[in-house]
């Protein structure tokens, strides 16, 4: 009954031209990975300027991941996920929501470290950064699979799914 209130969907099964989630995740992936890189470089070169660079990059990542999740949920809901995709999409969703908590917590911890002394970084934070980097890599791999292996929101797959071929 609410069908006529929804915007029309295009050949990507989207109400707007192209997917937005893969664009917003630039600002999570690049910022988290570069923050960890700067932490490691700053730790070994004893350049505390790089700690500031990583803190602000984590700040951006924290804001961005919630926007990424909003668009991720919209586009997952419109994806016409066929049976074979479902386990990958579910795992990508669970890890995505978990990452919002993990990234926000790490940025919060970083805020405390920085407030106390912006020139040092405990090894334990670096360790957590390494774990976060690993999770982000895995999450990117899953997202890649959704697009590049399963073809969600590509015209060929959307058309085949709408015709009931999948």
């Amino acid at each position: 009954m609410f069908d006529n209130l929804l915007p029309p969907l295009n050949e990507h099964n989207l109400p707007y031209p192209d997917t937005i989630h893969p664009i917003v995740v630039h600002f999570v992936i690049a910022m988290v990975l570069f923050a960890f890189f700067c932490d490691v470089l700053g730790y070994f070169s004893r350049n505390s300027k790089l700690y500031e660079v990583s803190w602000w990059n984590m700040f951006v990542a924290t804001v961005s991941i919630f926007i990424a999740i909003i668009f991720g949920q919209i586009e997952a809901g419109l994806a016409i996920a066929y049976d074979a995709v479902e386990p990958v999409l579910n795992l990508h969703t669970i890890i995505g929501w978990s990452l919002s908590g993990i990234i926000a917590a790490l940025t919060g911890w970083r805020y405390v470290i920085r407030s106390k002394n912006p020139e040092t970084l405990p090894m334990s934070y670096l360790g957590m950064g390494a774990i976060l980097t690993g999770i982000v890599f895995f999450q990117v791999y899953l997202g890649d699979k959704l697009v590049w292996v399963y073809g969600l929101h590509t015209t060929e797959i959307v058309q085949a799914a709408k015709e009931g071929l999948l």
Binding site: V25, H26, F27, A30, V53, Y82, V147, W148, T154, T155
Partner: protein
């Protein structure tokens, strides 16, 4: 492109010797680092207006730190983009797409690919040029000023972001409208069912 030569390679259904394209992953880094680099230089330039906000939020912030982010992010964007373009050209050489399909911008696959290739080289040159420009501002011309970047630099950054938007849309069209290197798309074209084969 040289179809009989390409057949000598051991490629998967997606037309690549590996399961997931590399170029679109490096793109995250190029765009994320460049855009946030410019964004932090803008934050640095307008610091006077933001100071009360950061104070209200109890987030200690120093103007020079924002310019540090602007500089280091730009350097990283420059370095990574060489690899982004290299991976892009490699995967372009192995690209295969239906010739009769037209994109939302009314381009064929080959037109889209050529413009995306030209745009990639242009953007690499622009990003490296911006980094050199930024370096001169930071260490030579404005090293003693509190506002480290010129207005022209920020304006150029915004213009380049617009080029990136056009360029990125062409890349997205290669992926989502021409099904470039898409495993499920290639399987469909071969008359196979991805829902059965990709379980």
């Amino acid at each position: 492109m040289y179809s009989d030569l390409i057949h000598q390679l051991d490629l998967g259904a997606n037309g690549l010797p590996y399961s997931i394209p590399i170029h679109p992953n490096l793109v995250h880094l190029t765009l994320g680092l460049f855009i946030i680099g410019i964004a932090f230089d803008i934050v640095g330039v307008f610091f006077t207006f933001e100071r009360p906000i950061f104070k209200y939020l109890a987030i200690p912030a120093t103007r020079s730190n924002f310019f540090d982010v602007g500089w280091y992010n730009m350097v990283a964007a420059s370095i990574i983009t060489f690899f982004t373009v290299a991976a892009g050209f490699y995967e372009m050489l192995l690209m295969d797409a239906p010739s009769e399909v037209k994109s939302a911008w009314n381009f064929t696959a080959i037109d889209t690919m050529i413009w995306h290739g030209i745009g990639g080289v242009l953007l690499l040159a622009l990003i490296v040029g911006m980094t050199v420009w930024r370096g001169f501002q930071r260490y030579v011309w404005r090293s003693d000023r509190s506002r480290q970047v010129q207005w022209w630099y920020l304006l150029a950054g915004l213009v380049i972001m617009f080029v990136m938007y056009i360029h990125g849309t062409l890349g997205a069209q290669l992926a989502a409208e021409f099904g470039a290197h898409n495993t499920a798309g290639h399987l469909l074209r071969l008359g196979e069912d991805p829902n059965v084969l990709l379980r």
